[in-house]
Symmetry: D2
Subunit: 375 residues, 4 copies
């Protein structure tokens, strides 16, 4: 009986690590081809207005099939609220959000069940768990990020409405095409959503789209960088030792599928500077303390300074391509893989709402932790 006839995990194996956050804590569940993808949010403040459409708007930015440069696969990703919200407001009790799976075609994956797709999790899953879910990767599927975006939508709305904290993630780079002159304080949801690549520099956006279309025609894929700016974060969020704000933001981003790098403030370029160049001088302006430059990226000692937080997240090119590739099957035979199927030539436009969501989850959790310590 061949090993791939079985789904996910050898008997007895557990999986852990399905929760994120300490006070605003989410636990996600659901496979790409099971009954539903869901999330319980434990610790959402009470009395806050949330409707299904508030969540849907973010899910629609993540969903497949939204434009000519994303995968043509169709999922409506309709969200249902099953507990924790009454008469349009959070009650403070755990919130359950669910999206039922609809467009499941496990038959699409039949050809793949005997193959390790290069740079996919197929191989490590099989080695770790003794089995794997060939129906679209199971828990390793990026479909799991739906639950993050749903929970993050509530966090993002809370931060905006209660604290005026604004989170804007946009595509800064696709391949070698990079948008360089975007002023942090001029970024809006509108100029990000003005094009299908989600880059607020409309001229560069066109170049990016052109590149992706070319890559798509070649049956190939391409990577890129999301840049995020978080405005109006109050001073004081973040813990001084292990749970520094950049540490938790970094973990959040590096837990997203396909992410290979994270840098905050001056990042990797900053290492070439002298301290005298890189230090952000304090100054007085209109009798108030101001920080002149912001190489720090909005945190000092792991704690927010009140300046804009900005960081960059590197996404590798999508592993699924149509081009022929050298690989190995489960019988350890070298083979050539020529996948057809439906895939994203570039994950970046759909990644922006995911980075938004993870940012919101980190910030709201640290906001609640900070309030809790100050109580």
């Amino acid at each position: 009986m061949p090993i791939y006839n079985h789904l996910l995990m050898r008997e007895e194996k557990l999986m852990t690590g399905n929760s994120f956050g300490q006070l605003f804590k989410i636990t996600t569940c659901g496979e790409s081809h099971g009954g539903a993808v869901g999330v319980i949010i434990d610790g959402c403040p009470a009395g806050f207005e949330v409707s299904e459409s508030d969540i849907q708007i973010e899910l629609d930015r993540r969903k497949p099939g939204q434009s000519s440069i994303t995968t043509p696969r169709k999922e409506t990703d309709t969200i249902h609220i099953l507990s924790g919200i009454f008469e349009g407001k959070t009650t403070g009790t755990p919130i359950l959000l669910l999206a039922y799976n609809t467009d499941m075609r496990p038959e699409d994956y039949a050809d793949l069940k005997n193959v390790y797709r290069p740079s996919h999790a197929d191989y490590t899953y099989l080695m770790k768990y003794g089995r794997r879910d060939f129906r679209g990767s199971g828990r390793a599927s990026a479909r799991e990020t739906l639950a993050r975006v749903a929970a993050g939508a509530i966090a993002k709305k809370y931060l905006k409405e209660k604290l005026n904290i604004e989170i804007h993630s946009y595509v800064e780079q696709v391949g070698n095409i990079r948008a360089n002159n975007i002023e942090d304080n001029l970024i809006t949801a509108e100029n990000i959503e003005a094009n299908i690549i989600r880059c607020p520099d409309q001229i560069t956006a066109k170049k990016m789209i052109k590149l992706i279309e070319k890559v798509k025609q070649e049956g190939d894929s391409i990577g890129g960088v999301i840049r995020t700016v978080i405005r109006h974060v109050p001073i004081g969020l973040g813990e001084p030792v292990f749970d520094k704000l950049p540490a938790d933001l970094g973990k959040a981003m590096l837990s997203i599928n396909a992410v290979k790098g994270f840098e905050i403030g001056s990042g990797f370029e900053g290492v070439s500077l002298r301290g005298s160049q890189h230090n952000d001088p304090f100054m007085i302006e209109n009798k108030k303390l101001k920080i002149k430059t912001n190489y720090a990226g909005g945190t000092l000692g792991g704690i927010s300074t009140g300046e804009n937080i900005y960081f960059r997240v590197a996404f590798k090119p999508v592993s699924t391509i149509s081009k022929a590739q050298q690989t190995v099957n489960l019988e350890n035979q070298a083979i050539i893989l020529e996948a057809q199927g439906r895939h994203d030539p570039c994950v970046l436009p759909r990644a922006a709402p995911i980075v938004d969501a993870m940012s919101a989850l980190v910030i709201i959790d640290h906001y609640l932790r900070h309030k809790a310590q100050s109580a």
Copy 2:
């Protein structure tokens, strides 16, 4: 009564985030100028040989005053084992490690107690906690990393002796000087320790040292990059959703003082590649599965592949410099700060053992988690 007469934290304020890890869990304590810096390790496997000198050897690589390019401040950083080890072996019960503080000169900081040092945590601490410990930054001091290195020394030794996992962190870059042609499998503790900057490329090392000496003479500081290679990691470490191995490594590194970036595998450069270039082909060699290239950096889907794990960590230039700087005092007056005192012109040589330690803590924790799930 001026605010700076009080130490750390407004009444009632708590601090959180002093623990790291899930099964091999450390909780650290101690201020830079209190009685001691310490750590309890909860969850170290029993029956493992550990002596104080095993730990001391790593602490000596971190300690101040070790060479002409580190701060001249003197601390012996002598470690004491107070529980959990009997007759030279771990008993499986919590291990308490302590280093008493000796070279405390709070008077050195007298001039600073009324000032926000640029790019230090002084300002955010005071805003968050209502007070700050002017005696060398309290818990924000990099002296806290002593506890990490002590605990990490046990983890690193365990991984090497029990599993042959080797962790080598070295200085790859100082300012713009970068060592490029270091073969991952030829790095040894010996060629890292062969020079005071801890770069295994001896020619580049000399250039780096020269640059640091120049920067030191100018009373300035400079940043750099630590590159880490972890060899012989078994397949299967890391969890598929939030606790991906790169996510936990990233959080570990971004929780170290002065770190501004983390990238694993192809990192930020990889975004320019096509999927067909970046995907690491599986192949058969001597009847065994092999992965041809390693753009992934040793993990797929957040789980280790068995290939070398490698990553880069960006350190900003040290914030403490002797050059005159514009800043503000606690009475909100613009002033010029001319610190003398003792400081590191470049933190990189002392950072290598800290990155080693945090790497070891992440790997041993995921190793134990993986074993636990498979039990």
Copy 3:
């Protein structure tokens, strides 16, 4: 606008403590009158057969309206599995279980929304959260235990099938009527289910039922004791310091609505014995070590001995009664409360499956923790 027009929790208030367990970890959600009651199980071993009917059988033992001595309220409590189980087997990924609420009659509670019902959580909820859910107590409702029973059903089945661990909770006492001579090793699911009170001593059961019928006629309620015997627990479960097995069992039971006491082994009666009477002698029988008596109740030093674990759980009389009671309304006026509505005269028969479930959750969690440490 009167305070009771608002549901549960003042704005900003959070609720915590909705998770239980460390490796086999459950997070529950749902109010008595919201859309659904649900639970995510994180950490269930893979490859284990579970069907909805395996869970339903335990829920049916808990559900209202099951006999003449329980509340006549009707809920089908039909369970749905939405993730983590495929082709009848657990996959190792998080399991989502849901029961949609059907028989909601918030209008039944209209008279109560302005009143503190004596010995209910109405008062403490309102004081803690600033609001309360008058529609059947919200998260304070015993309806929340549905989620525990659903998750516990999987744990109980696993323990029985994989390890032959048998958990039997039965009604030992109602009011002053106590069944005394029940031999631990002769208890079976069948003799517990042989009567509607769930006491395996059929003669005493009849007396208990008669007492409850009398109490019901009087519009009153009565308390009782559940006794649990767990057979075939392997030696070694439980941690020696804070997470002793009796400590975690005690917490589990004391977290059930209406529980006021927990004792294991000799319990409160054992305090009168001398050590020479109470110590359980070790002996050799058929060349194997045996423990002669079992005053310990199956644990020593917090760790299971392999002998039967047995404990008793005290339930106070149900707070909802039809008799007239003195109380106070939200305007702080003394009033007389004469509730009609539907209530259980005695919660004990429905409590047995809840105690079973909590027992199973504690034992499976400690079993996995023990395996994890030994890996």
Copy 4:
């Protein structure tokens, strides 16, 4: 090589469960015969006055050799503060408390290293960990409670000084001798400390002491009950689902060595009452809401009502006795054990400060959790 030549735990074995609390979180370390017993407190509010003598006063109530009815073993149990307190005040950072071990006589245990002492943890430890620490039980030793009392002393002092919460644990029962008519509001530290058994009823105290002296002469031991009253707890502490206040108090007490039972409010006796008797009526007195009776024991729905919290904790007779006992050695031979050594004939007088400490740790943790949610 006989198994008892090795200390505690088979190679690779871990121990877990050394932490307690969520916001005011303690992690303890230290064996009865290692270098020290210690505790890190993470989450103590800043700005609170604590001296070593504040802690010592509670440790002296716990220490051996304090009176004619406790073990004659001598330990000074001198406490040292090594971090987190500066100029007499907490700084908000982790607090490290240490007591070095001094009166270690492992030779006293030489005769015991080959024997399972009845009702001790020797057997379960050896079975669980593959080894045991024969030098006074290692982590299973009640010496570990020293760390709890040290941490609890800070919590208890905080609760009293900041919130006027008073915690009084006293010996209510020794064997069959029970003090019945002690008025909760008349209990004071002074009348508890007025005699060596720590029972505020001075006449009953004498009878208890006489009984213990008799038991001691016989080389035997006896159990008893600690009753605790907590006055002035604010309304609202405790979480409604798993972390109910009685659940966390119960776990805390059942994690103390030798505890076999816990009951709060009416406890086991309450099960015989009718709801109409047991319900605590709300009433208006001087225009304020009052609760007439307090069968609930100070909590409703797991949340404090503001009334006195009271509970009882059952301690079994000490397992170490001088009388000859039947047991088995590690070669599975039946033997007669005649221990001499030094032991407590009754643990109750030394248990009172331990129950105080665990009570304080639970209450302060829930106080901080409640404040945190309300922030």
